[in-house]
């Protein structure tokens, strides 16, 4: 069938294997495309059901008081977390291991504080998951956010171990880590506006 079959491999000019081109950073960015679609899908369904609920002139939620101070502090916390993640990138580029590890440590600490604030919000609002119309929606969205932040903490832990082992020149991982926290901050900002601000 073939008219010009080559029995032996053809020789292309070769070079030494190149280093991956910012693979972790790009991989994180690609994964965050999926993350954005996930958060977008969650919020789109929320808005659809909210519209149905308020079309009769009611509020959404009807029976719960939103702990605005805690949720606002969470907003500030998550953006500060992203800034500390960026500080880790800056420090690593300068070869400053101490500040890199410190920045990653603070990033992790703020992430834990965010999760604590989320738990506090759950506790204070007292939303019943079995409530028709709101409970399941609320816990689906905030539970997913909780998982997103927990995944970020895992990313921070892995990055910190790498920094502690002295792999500071590998800023690709640190940049990917910072990108994740920026995205998490943007995701929470959208959730904060839709879930906690829009009535």
């Amino acid at each position: 069938m073939a008219t010009h079959a080559a029995e032996l491999p053809l020789e292309l000019p070769s070079v030494a294997a190149p280093a991956p081109k910012r693979q972790i950073f790009v991989g994180t960015a690609v994964a965050l495309v999926a993350g954005s679609a996930l958060v977008g899908g969650l919020l789109a369904v929320w808005l659809l059901l909210r519209e149905r609920a308020v079309s009769g002139g009611g509020r959404f939620p009807l029976d719960y008081i939103i702990t605005e101070v805690a949720t606002n502090v969470m907003l500030i916390t998550i953006w500060v977390t992203a800034l500390f993640a960026q500080w880790a990138v800056y420090s690593a580029k300068r070869g400053d291991r101490t500040h890199t590890v410190l920045a990653l440590g603070v990033t992790g600490l703020l992430g834990v504080a965010f999760l604590n604030a989320q738990a506090f919000t759950w506790s204070q609002m007292g939303v019943e998951i079995g409530d028709a119309g709101y409970g399941a929606l609320f816990y689906a969205v905030t539970g997913t956010l909780f998982a997103i932040i927990a995944a970020g903490l895992l990313y921070s832990a892995v990055t910190a171990f790498r920094a502690l082992s002295g792999r500071l020149g590998d800023t690709d991982v640190l940049a990917g880590h910072a990108l994740y926290w920026y995205w998490a901050a943007a995701a929470y900002s959208a959730i904060w506006f839709v879930v906690y601000v829009t009535k």
Binding site: A6, L12, A17, A37, G40
Partner: protein, 562 residues
């Protein structure tokens, strides 16, 4: 967190065998071989795992569709238990899309695209492999849940929860592997391979992977809501177990399946220049055409088919524009993209024939020819579905459009497996064996789809049923008229598809056991994977090639000979 396996650097690489699986365990024992496959980080093996299990599920789905077709066609049939029909319809639909189409297309991309871009390994190979296991576990759990009266409208609450968890697991697995594939094309290209020099199939794999990453998480969001509401909540927000059809059914039909099928269109684009022994004409435009087909992903996540459009001239111009603009963007652009790819294929064929004369008819081209025809017809059907004047929404027309795209894409991917068989398995599938299978599959796919489409024009009910009443409507045919005939035609079509898939599997096994080793470049392929021995070694390229054009092997093969 090494993402490219660099332990076999050029300097200390072991002697790469000219042929044979370089990753095969030295001992050759059965258990060592199994362990090698189970823990593999070789993208070609991960891709073949996806494709192999996907083909089994494709044959299974087609057989279930055949049984359902017989049940519909034969008035008073007791072939299937009436209480199981709701679950069997779901086995067919979920099996076809999530069990076969997405994993087989993704598998071919994982197996071939890294070779095409000159990567020695896929990015995040363990993520890609764990994605496969998540997908497989999800599919198995889903089948168990459906067997236990779960699924959409299921009567067993625990099995319904298990069904949703299984769908979630499946979706996460597919997203993992798609992330790995997209990152490979973006970051692991050989020196000199700019994005404009990326082979068309690798480009379409990137578009397809991004489509999966846009569509699948939106479905996963619905799964989260449904699971929390059904398992812990009041089960009212989403209409209980029956509501799953409304919130997840869009994933199993057009336009979502068009987004999943983009790499299959890329197989066609890849085969045309090889068949006609010429360079791809207007590569940039071909890239744009493939990307336009991917616009279907946006249509899926915004559920544009839920916005019907009327051509009624009495409506206001503003209303028409409000409806027509998103419709034309989301249904028209994918069709335009496919037409562009087809037109450029014609142009490339013309230029190749003018220069090289007689075409090099590779066996895979027959699969590709049937496949692309069906996919383009499916895109036309997608374009027509939302027009309210045709009254096709809610009829079996939707299933016909799904079958055109899904079966068409699967034929294209089978063509891809035939084409790249020398690189993946080290064997060549001859036209004598492949062409009858392609004819069988193409005929079957056409019959199955046409029966549903004609039924749609006759007002036959369709869609994914949410309860027993929905199933009863789906199976209520006019037995005195054309309904039963169409059901028989559809059943025969599914049977032929199942036969073609089973025949393909049997042929592959036979050739693997007794076939002659393939030459390095038996079809005169143009891209750099054809510069490796057959089968391609585990690390693909013992020495990473430098690329200076979009068709480097074509230039080595043909420059000065034509």
């Amino acid at each position: 967190m090494t993402t490219i396996e660099t332990q076999h650097a050029v300097a200390d690489a072991p002697e790469a065998p000219a042929t044979g699986e370089s990753t095969a365990p030295a001992s050759g024992s059965f258990f060592a071989g199994v362990a090698d496959w189970v823990t593999t980080t070789d993208h070609k093996k991960i891709g073949r795992l996806y494709a192999g299990f996907g083909l089994v599920l494709l044959a299974g789905s087609a057989i279930v569709a055949l049984l359902l077709g017989i049940e519909r066609a034969d008035d008073g049939s007791e072939l299937l238990d009436g209480g199981a029909l709701l679950q069997l319809v779901q086995v067919y639909r979920f099996g076809l899309v999530l069990g076969a189409l997405v994993p087989i297309v993704l598998g071919l991309g994982l197996a071939v695209a890294p070779m095409q871009v000159g990567a020695r390994q896929v990015a995040f190979p363990r993520v890609a492999l764990s994605g496969f296991y998540f997908w497989l576990a999800g599919i198995v759990l889903m089948l168990f849940a459906l067997g236990d009266n779960g699924g959409i409208g299921g009567g067993n609450a625990q099995a319904v929860d298990q069904f949703l968890a299984a769908i979630g697991l499946t979706l996460v697995g597919l997203a993992f592997s798609a992330t790995s594939l997209a990152t490979t094309v973006l970051t692991a290209r050989a020196p000199g391979m700019t994005m404009r020099r990326v082979p068309l199939f690798a480009w379409s794999s990137l578009i397809g992977a991004l489509g999966v990453l846009l569509v699948v998480p939106v479905a996963f969001a619905s799964v989260i809501y449904l699971f929390v509401d059904l398992r812990y909540g009041a089960a009212e927000n989403f209409a209980g177990a029956e509501g799953i059809a409304a919130w997840l059914g869009w994933l199993l039909t057009i336009p979502a399946v068009i987004a999943f099928a983009v790499p299959a269109v890329g197989v066609f684009a890849e085969l045309v220049p090889v068949t006609f022994r010429g360079r791809q004409q207007l590569r940039g435009v071909a890239f744009a055409g493939l990307a336009l087909v991917g616009v279907a992903a946006l249509a899926a996540v915004t559920r544009q088919t839920a916005i019907p459009v009327s051509l009624d001239t009495d409506q206001s111009f503003g209303t028409f524009i409000d409806d027509a603009v998103p419709y034309l963007l989301f249904a028209g652009l994918p069709l335009l993209g496919a037409v562009v790819v087809l037109a450029l294929g014609g142009l490339t064929a013309q230029a190749g024939m003018a220069k090289a004369g007689k075409p090099n008819l590779v066996p895979a081209a027959v699969f590709a020819l049937f496949g692309i025809g069906l996919v383009v017809l499916g895109l036309v059907a997608n374009f027509l579905l939302a027009l309210t004047d045709l009254e096709l929404l809610g009829t079996s027309f939707e299933e016909g459009a799904l079958l055109l795209v899904a079966y068409g894409a699967l034929l294209l991917v089978l063509g891809g497996l035939v084409f790249w068989a020398p690189k993946l398995w080290g064997v060549e599938l001859t036209g004598l064996h492949v062409i009858p299978l392609a004819l069988l599959g193409g005929l079957g796919a056409a019959l199955a789809a046409v029966a549903a489409i004609v039924g749609g024009f006759l007002g036959q009910p369709g869609g994914l049923p949410a309860n027993d009443a929905g199933v009863a409507a789906l199976f209520s045919l006019d037995f005195s008229g054309s309904g039963a005939l169409l059901a028989w035609v559809g059943a025969i079509g599914h049977a032929l598809v199942a036969l073609a898939v089973l025949g393909f599997g049997a042929l592959l096994l036979k050739v693997l056991r007794s076939g002659q080793p393939a030459a390095a470049n038996p079809f005169n392929g143009h891209t750099i994977e054809w510069g490796t021995p057959s089968p391609t070694p585990a690390d693909n390229f013992p020495a990473v090639p430098t690329v200076a054009s979009a068709e480097p092997v074509f230039e080595l093969s043909y420059e000065g000979t034509l």
